[in-house]
Amino acid sequence: MEKNPLTLIGTQLVRSDASEKVLGAAKYVDDLHFSDTVYLAIRTAEVASGALRSIDISKARGSHGVLAVLTHADIPGENQMGSPVPDYPILLKPGDEIRYVGDYVAFVVAHTREQALRAAEKVTVMVAEKKPVLSLNERIRELQKGGDYVPAVHQKIRKGDSDPKTMFDSCDYVFEGDFFADYQEHAYLETQGMIALYDQDNVMTIYGSMQCPYYVQNGVARALGFPINRIRIIQSVTGGAFGGKEEVPTYFAIPAALAAYHLHRPVKLVLSREEDIQWTSKRHPIKSRYKVGIADYGRLRSIQVEAHADIGGHSTLSPTVLWRSSVHAAGAYEIPNVRVDVYGHYTNKVPSGAYRGFGSPQVFIGIEGIIDDVADHLKKDRLYLRKINALEKGKTTPTGHLLPESVGAKKTLEEVERLSDWERLKERVAQFNREHKHLKRGVGIAHIHYGVALGAMGHALDASGAFVNVLPDGSISVHIGGTEMGQGAKTVIGAIVGEVLQQPMEKIHVYQTDTFFLPDSGPTVASRTTVFSGNAAVLACQELLKTLTALYSTEMAVPPQSVRYTGGVFSNTEGQKPVGFGELAGIALKKNIGLCATGWFQTPRLTWDPENGFGEAYVTYSFASQIVVVEVDCLTAEVVVKEVYTAHDVGKALNPDGVIGQIHGGFVQGMGYALYENLKVNEKGKIVSDNFNTLTIPTIHETPEIFKVSIVEEPFSKGPFGAKGIGEPSLIPTPAAIANAVSDAIGKRVREIPIRKEYLLDLIRTAP
């Protein structure tokens, strides 16, 4: 069949869920209501470390309105929610070790949430408290002492000469530096929430705010001891996630499901903001040490990175997050000799987990800071130095992945150079600084790559399905295994289906994700949904076109090879005997022909050597470059981002407005991380900045006034219409670019994010 010009892909699309959202009619989990619903509250350990001695629930049980108080003894299945490492019991039993303040002791169910909360306070817990480990440094020292302490995670990369004794021998210059990136809270505007219903067909049905319904399905099945076919998860409209609703929603679905199982009534659990911040994962704090060797007037020759991450009380996704840190630690450059070690350490704090960028923003501040040091020392332009080291088609990444295609790295650098009018920008800033004494401006650059999808380590989960059903009136319903969480998945999938089937968006309805319709399609993470759900949708639509073509051919007596399909109309090669898509769908019904198809997309296996940490890490990479201008008030350490120029290689922008929206949002979130979002943990392991009065996230005032975006399109041959991912690369360069800009403004290297005021003032005041 001939190729038609694109009518939806790459055009300006209105989000398919915009109308319900601007009307306030979209149903988030707390907006759903089932009669007879009862409410749940969680009683947590409240101490960070120790052994649980005893639990007394008698007072709670007698509390007003209480229907049940559930403890470890009430779990019909496995008392475990840790995956892959089984270190996370659902409910502690006497004798168990408490690993952080949020470990669960009891679930209280009552007629109202207030009653449940009041009763939860009446659960009496005896604990033999231990001094908690709250500092990452304490663990690093333990490791350095060389005793029998073994970190929970160790990921490594080895390429070329990776022997620290020799790998720098052939370098002309060696640069070193330490960096630290602290926690970041997701602060999605909708807190976590679940409703569990145990009713029809003896199936446990769960509605909730989440990214990964299949994780929830597996986790709940394990806790209830049910076969997976009796667990159905339906994602409700989700009010932001950013990684925070990847592994974590399972920890709230399980309590709700357990209560529904025992009470046979709908159970609702929606967290308060304080509970959400206290109990849910954060971006990993990572300390890193960089050593970089340079040869040939600025070429990166050798790099050694040692990084340590605080994984908190349970390991959850840390092995995977830190694998991604290790793959990205050496930056988006061609470097022959690489040695990276990333360690994950248990502490008695909230488990760290998935957060947009997945362990990479924390290491990019290191490599990008050092690159500036190199440029300055060699008196070379910072953008130029990145250009000469950038990846290109035919070059290999720091893990030794030979890149065959879709490498827009250099183009993104050229684009930010053009967008910012680089030479003039530097001059403008220098001029400003000559004219101002206490206000100083600085320019910062960052250049990054990002491995799309789950990569070699997550290969087992890296497949996705789509189910497309054409109804007799020609309308089309679509189910995908990926989820819409605000990023625009429904719109982009709708556009893909519309493009392949040549139908307008209005005819296509993409449903909320429901595990009932498709096999386990993996998680909606790692910027993989456009590629994975998108490709699956393409496959399903192609299948449908085959069926429709055959039907048309029989009905109209046109040989199959002479069937033409353009503008949504089937005809013969001369354009005669036209039958529209909708009409043909109606005929199909009468002829007993089913018009539904499932598409299933998997990635080719990657060649990866886990022993040595070498090989093809990810199926493809997105690239980005960013330049920011900041203004620092050297008296108050106030920092304002004035200008942003950012270029992103996304393969192909299927929904350009959506891509730009991701870039704006990712930037401001990254800016919050770099400048404002201080998460404070007290000496008891409790988070004290547990609401927006103490945890400051960017408001509309912080949005930079000049914000220029350029989209670079280096198509990825295995992506739908050439697309790669953008969800995370939108945020990743920002912390590094801002740290570099502030460094530029004050003439000293910023080594920490968030850049706290006290830290910055100290830095400004100390002699260079």
């Binding site: 109308s19 009307l23 009619a25 505007l189 996630a241 990712g666």
Partner: protein
């Protein structure tokens, strides 16, 4: 206690417990689910309503504070296929991602434009400073307000 007020143009007479939050009264008792809870502390603006035309956080008020007053929630603005110009502008500019902040944002914009039909950037930011959005970075929200102004002007509408 007895409560008498006007909600979205309709007269409501009901009884509520003394300490019922206005947010819970509107969401749970009256079923107005467009009013969202993001923080419960007056910090995020998700629970914004218009009280006698002014944008306020319903999580900080008691139901009794609404007595005798006119409450407007997003339910009163536009319908499927007939969006209010501010809603239309938000939809068309891509000022909506997850949508959780959207009801509060739109009501704050309405309160702004009712007072000041041609706000400059500073006025827009001032009016929306209490509405947090974690998704959009606010760029398209500012654009949407400008577009709403343009739509309203082009249609010669009063809102």
């Amino acid at each position: 206690m007895e409560l008498h007020l006007f909600v979205n143009g309709k007269e409501v007479t009901t009884s509520v417990p003394e300490n019922r939050r206005a947010l819970d009264f509107l969401r749970k008792d009256l079923g107005l689910k467009s009013v969202k809870e993001g923080c419960g502390e007056g910090e995020c603006g998700a629970c914004t309503i218009l009280l006698d035309g002014k944008a306020v956080c319903s999580c900080l008020l008691f139901a009794s504070d609404l007595a005798g007053r006119r409450v407007l929630t997003l339910e009163s603005l536009g319908k499927e296929g007939h969006l209010h110009p501010i809603q239309q502008a938000f939809a068309e500019t891509g000022a909506v991602q997850c949508g959780f902040c959207t009801p509060g944002m739109i009501l704050s914009v309405k309160s702004l434009l009712d007072e000041n039909p041609s706000p400059d950037d500073e006025a827009i930011k001032k009016a929306l400073e209490g509405n947090l959005c974690r998704c959009t970075g606010y760029v398209k929200i500012i654009e949407a307000v400008k577009r709403a102004v343009a739509i309203i002007k082009s249609q010669g509408l009063m809102i």
